[in-house]
Amino acid sequence: MRIHADVGKCQGYGNCAGLDSEHFDLDDDGLVVVRRDSVTAGERDTVAEAVRGCPAEAIWLAGDGD
């Protein structure tokens, strides 16, 4: 699974980086930056929580082939 982001949808709420600073950050314009798109099995629940925590639906998890 990898993390995908649509910066065009990002509103800078920051819930992703607040919940999982390993994978997410915001840039100076307040838009999401994926620090690392790979997700280990142990990290998956936390990343899934960050995804459900995005009010703008700007981030999601999908298989490598997607």
């Binding site: 920051g14 819930n15 607040g18 840039d27 314009d29 629940d45 929580e49 459900r52 009010p55």
Partner: protein
Amino acid sequence: MAIERVVVVGASVAGIRAAQALRAGGFDGELVVVGAESAAPYDKPPLSKQVLTGESTVAGIGLVRAGDEFDLRLGIAATGLDPASKKIVLADGQPIGYDAAVIATGVRARTLPGVDEDLVRPLRELTDAAALRERLAGGAPVVIVGGGFIGAEVAAAAAAAGCPVTIVEALPALFSRVLGDDVGSLLTACHAAHGVTVLTNATVVAVERLPGDGALVRLADGRTVEAGTIVAGVGCEPNTDWLTGSGLRLGDGVHTDERCAVRGARDVYAIGDVARWWDPAGRVTRRVEHWTNAVEQANLVAHQILRLDRPRPDVTVPYFWSDQYGVKIQMVGRSAPGDTVEVLRCATPAGARRVALYSRAGRFTAAVTFGWPKGSVTARQAWQRGAGAAQVRDTLMKLMKGS
């Protein structure tokens, strides 16, 4: 006992996210989500923001995702819960048994006492937002009673629609209860700069119907304001009436322990706006009406129902946002009266950055950023680490000037 059927009562963000978290965590039993409104589940924060300004449509704020697998029963309210027999009763009289139940029935808008409800509109549900948007398009003067965040967002949307707007606020400044007088005054000035009349220290004593469609709002000090549309933003009350007699501990919300398990019942949880949750750090109960809190509590409860042994933090950082006049206002932490407040400002090529820092005896208590999401998330991470006020100030100063 194995958990085979989970019933979630409430189909707003807390309820839907709880159902999604259960499935994401591997729950493959029966999952029923009951919602009193008949509209497909939708997100509420945009109702006073993007839905009013037209930046978002009803279709754009749905909460259910492709692939979500749960039995969604909409347009039917729950009318009772019996923890002894582990059953929830619906308005059609049908009981549903549960192995675990999640109460997520949210809140309803408070009304103005003694005022004809036809004259004063609440803003809580989709139908309220749709009706209000239509009224704003007519351009008639808008009076907003209550200068909290919802009232202020409606004011910003109404001003953007070209309506003359008046906010009537009982306190000396907008938001002064949450943000303190200094920052409250800043925001009050911001509304005034956008042409909104802000009447502070003002309370409504009566609303009279005028000939035609208008109304006259009478204030305690004798002033009057004419209005075409009146919106009440005077707070909310938790939807707990249906639990009267259930034996659950109620009182301005459903009382829970620090992990949202309801007091007085087994395998019953309460999350989101309706939950009065025990905060062990503050040693107080809190009922929090914020989106992020609802989603975090949904995750926490799903984790317990799934009996996952992986530890997870019970609470994270208090956080909410508001959008007014195109500026994102984000608050991290909790301030209290008597906190020291310092406002830092910096002009950058990207625009003005501003943050209000709150502290108490050197301890960092809260930060409110204006149009600076990066500053907000930095403050949030610092709050989580337990950073001191001086350190947070340094970090934000550097970040502010850095780029």
